[in-house]
């Protein structure tokens, strides 16, 4: 069983919602990224999504674009990120790591080589933001061969027929974009999101994560009733941006943000079981 499936199974057994945290690798530096990954796990993160910086992140908002720019200023490459994951795995063998990025840096390395290096370093899955399933068949097959899972996005305007097609290519979990917009945007309509999540759950068997625009514990808690996992991204990246110099401040900021979300997600567990 894959590390991701195992994680979802464990959480399900204790009736817990999966908490997924996104940070851009190499922001503010590769060595601090390592500390941040461990801090995320300590403050309740179940799965880490590691952004692969790209010069033109068109699906991301300004917060994550600036994170990409900070990482790229230091010439952070995919190879640096593989090393980062390898080092992370020396201490942590159970937290799944998902790489999230754009296709071009992967094409530069080549699908086969990227897949093998990612898998060898301890990466569990890859989400290529600008790769819809129509263009994804080759890369998904290569990933499969190396035991990497392929995460796909579903949007508020994705039709049911298409959701079914996407789920044929997807493994690990599905990632529902909770709003029409870029990462970190602020117009999340909770009722609409809940309705859409239910529609997806009726149609697919994979665990369902929801992200884009979730900034606080209350929203996370509300959505956790209709999703298996909650993704927090831009809110974490903002903490890193505000305090780039100090490792202690970043770690404290992450704990201050994530602990209440974890606690809120875990509240009422006993009454529900």
């Amino acid at each position: 069983m894959s590390r991701i499936s195992e994680k979802f199974l464990d959480l399900k057994q204790c009736n817990k919602t999966c908490l997924i945290s996104y940070v851009t690798a190499g922001d503010p530096s590769i060595s601090l990224s390592l500390d941040i990954m461990h801090a995320l796990v300590e403050s309740g993160t179940d799965i880490i999504e590691l952004g692969v910086p790209f010069s033109d992140p068109m699906a991301d908002g300004p917060t994550i674009q600036r994170a990409c720019e900070r990482a790229l200023k230091q010439k952070v490459s995919c190879f640096d990120i593989f090393e980062l994951v390898k080092t992370f795995r020396k201490k942590n063998k159970t937290t799944p790591v998902v790489l999230m990025g754009y296709l071009n840096p992967i094409e530069r390395i080549g699908y086969e080589k990227f897949s093998k290096l990612a898998s060898d370093s301890g990466v569990d899955a890859v989400l290529v933001v600008d790769l819809p399933h129509e263009e994804a068949e080759d890369i998904v097959n290569i990933f499969k061969k190396d035991n990497l899972e392929s995460i796909f996005l579903i949007a508020p305007n994705t039709q049911v027929e298409r959701i079914n097609k996407i789920s044929k290519f997807a493994s690990g979990f599905l990632y529902y974009i909770s709003l029409k917009g870029v990462t970190g945007a602020s117009t999340l309509n909770i009722q609409e999101t809940e309705a859409q999540l239910k529609k997806i759950k009726d149609n697919v068997n994979l665990p369902l994560a929801v992200g884009f625009g979730i900034k606080d514990a209350d929203t996370a808690k509300t959505l956790s009733k209709s999703a298996d996992a909650i993704v927090i991204g831009s809110a974490i990246v903002k903490i890193i941006e505000n305090d780039q110099e100090s490792k202690t401040n970043i770690n404290n900021g992450i704990i201050d943000l994530m602990k209440p979300i974890r606690l809120k997600l875990d509240s009422n567990i006993s009454t529900e079981t």
């Binding site: 790209f54 010069s55 033109d56 992140p57 068109m58 699906a59 908002g61 300004p62 674009q65 720019e69 790229l72 010439k75 490459s77 995919c78 754009y102 296709l103 071009n104 840096p105 992967i106 094409e107 530069r108 390395i109 933001v129 600008d130 790769l131 819809p132 129509e134 263009e135 796909f152 996005l153 579903i154 949007a155 508020p156 305007n157 994705t158 039709q159 298409r162 996407i166 974009i177 029409k180 917009g181 870029v182 945007a185 117009t187």
Partner: protein
């Protein structure tokens, strides 16, 4: 094959050349590389376009706008003095600079704006580099009574201040883009973000033959009026077209001229911006110096570093300052159907002056790249042969740039 549905907008049946395929691929190029949120609006756009492109009401409206608003057909002008001076092949200019707003861009924006109206959209967004596409979008938005927002890199806003003011006069909002290199590619990123967010009421008018499917195809089809007119005009003159020359940034004016000639034996030359020189690394010539990659929704030739990050480009002309190129040009290069050459900043500036003084036509700096190459090409060809240059835009917008280079304050 769905070629029968193309006959109205593309009169010349493409028997040996049937691109794009049904998924928007041009060989290995093109495609739809976007986040999931954009799939549905792109599908809607494609369906609308495919339903309308043979529709007589739609075509009637389009051709009426071409004639009465854009000012088509544009003249095909024999540049006698330039021809005599170079002492080589005859040079003809397809005068797209005489289109309303001063460039070929409006052929496409009027087409897309009519599509937008048919789809019930009330808001238009566009990205712009030199400002010509922004002006052309603002113009058609005013014409059809739609709201218009134009994204423009801060660097380009500085280079093209007159066009910024023109857009504002036309009622558009111009949003400065401060991310990345603050040029065309960053404006495109911002426009895509706007579209993702406001997809319900907004139509995104892409200005060139790049972007996700179906944009490269529909922009080409709207611009192909240029080449179709050239065929008819040269037939009227009883002249054979031996060579076609056009500048290539994203490549919309070039594909507009070339596309109806793809099955002919006319030679075609697309001219990229060599900036300071192809060997200096400071240029905008992905077809000459790029690698295959994925950016802005399509696979094409790109200027990128060893890690697949897009690099900053350079050209004296804002309209050519882009790290990618339309996927169909990438295919035409690989098929050997078009030769892609380049001209440096300096060659373009020299050609700019030459055309102004010898023919009384001040060309856009983008266009000047095509003129610069033609001045070399004409000398190598026979005197009874004919070259058609796409004179894609007029140079008024570039007066500040050229004057500044010469230390003149205007």
């Amino acid at each position: 094959m769905k070629t029968t549905s193309k006959q109205n907008l593309n009169d010349f049946n493409q028997l040996r050349y049937g691109y794009p395929d049904e998924n928007g691929h041009y060989g290995v190029f093109g495609g739809t590389f976007v986040a999931e949120t954009l799939i549905q609006p792109l599908t809607d756009l494609k369906n609308t376009y495919y339903n309308l492109k043979n529709d007589s009401d739609f075509l009637g409206e389009l051709y009426s706008e071409f004639e009465n608003y854009v000012g088509r057909p544009t003249p095909l002008y024999f540049a006698k003095r330039l021809t005599d001076k170079l002492n080589g092949a005859n040079i003809f200019l397809k005068r797209e600079d005489l289109c309303h707003t001063g460039a070929h861009k409006i052929n496409n924006t009027i087409g897309q704006a009519i599509l937008a109206k048919k789809m019930g959209k009330t808001r238009i967004i566009a990205e712009t580099g030199a400002g010509q596409h922004g002006v052309a979008s603002a113009t058609v938005a005013a014409r059809l009574g739609m709201q218009c927002v134009v994204y423009m890199g801060e660097q380009d806003i500085y280079r093209q201040s007159q066009n910024v003011y023109r857009m504002k006069l036309l009622g558009a909002e111009v949003v400065p883009v401060t991310s990345g290199s603050r040029t065309l590619k960053d404006a495109l990123n911002e426009a895509l973000r706007d579209w993702v967010t406001n997809v319900d009421n907004t139509f995104y008018i892409i200005g060139t033959v790049a972007g996700p499917s179906p944009y490269p195809e529909l922009v080409r089809d709207f611009q192909a009026i240029i080449g179709r007119e050239v065929i008819a005009q040269m037939q009227d003159l009883d002249k054979k077209v031996d060579a076609l020359v056009a500048c290539v940034g994203g490549g919309s004016n070039a594909i507009g001229l070339f596309y109806p000639f793809i099955n002919s034996d006319s030679k075609m030359y697309g001219i990229e911006a060599a900036g300071n020189g192809l060997e200096t690394g400071k240029h905008s010539a992905p077809l000459n110096k790029g690698k295959i990659g994925v950016l802005h929704g399509n696979r094409t030739y790109l200027l990128e570093d060893e890690n697949g990050q897009i690099i900053e480009t350079h050209s004296i002309s804002a309209g050519l300052d882009y790290p990618g190129v339309g996927p169909e040009h990438a295919l035409l290069k690989d098929l050997g159907l078009v030769e892609y050459k380049s001209a440096t900043d300096k060659e373009a500036i020299d050609a700019f002056h030459e055309m102004s003084k010898v023919e009384g036509i001040i060309p856009a700096l983008e266009t000047s790249h095509a003129i610069a190459y033609t001045m070399k090409l004409a000398k190598k060809m026979k005197k009874n042969q004919n070259i058609v240059i796409n004179l894609s835009g007029r140079g008024d917008k570039d007066l500040n740039t050229v004057a500044k280079l010469e230390g003149i304050k205007i």
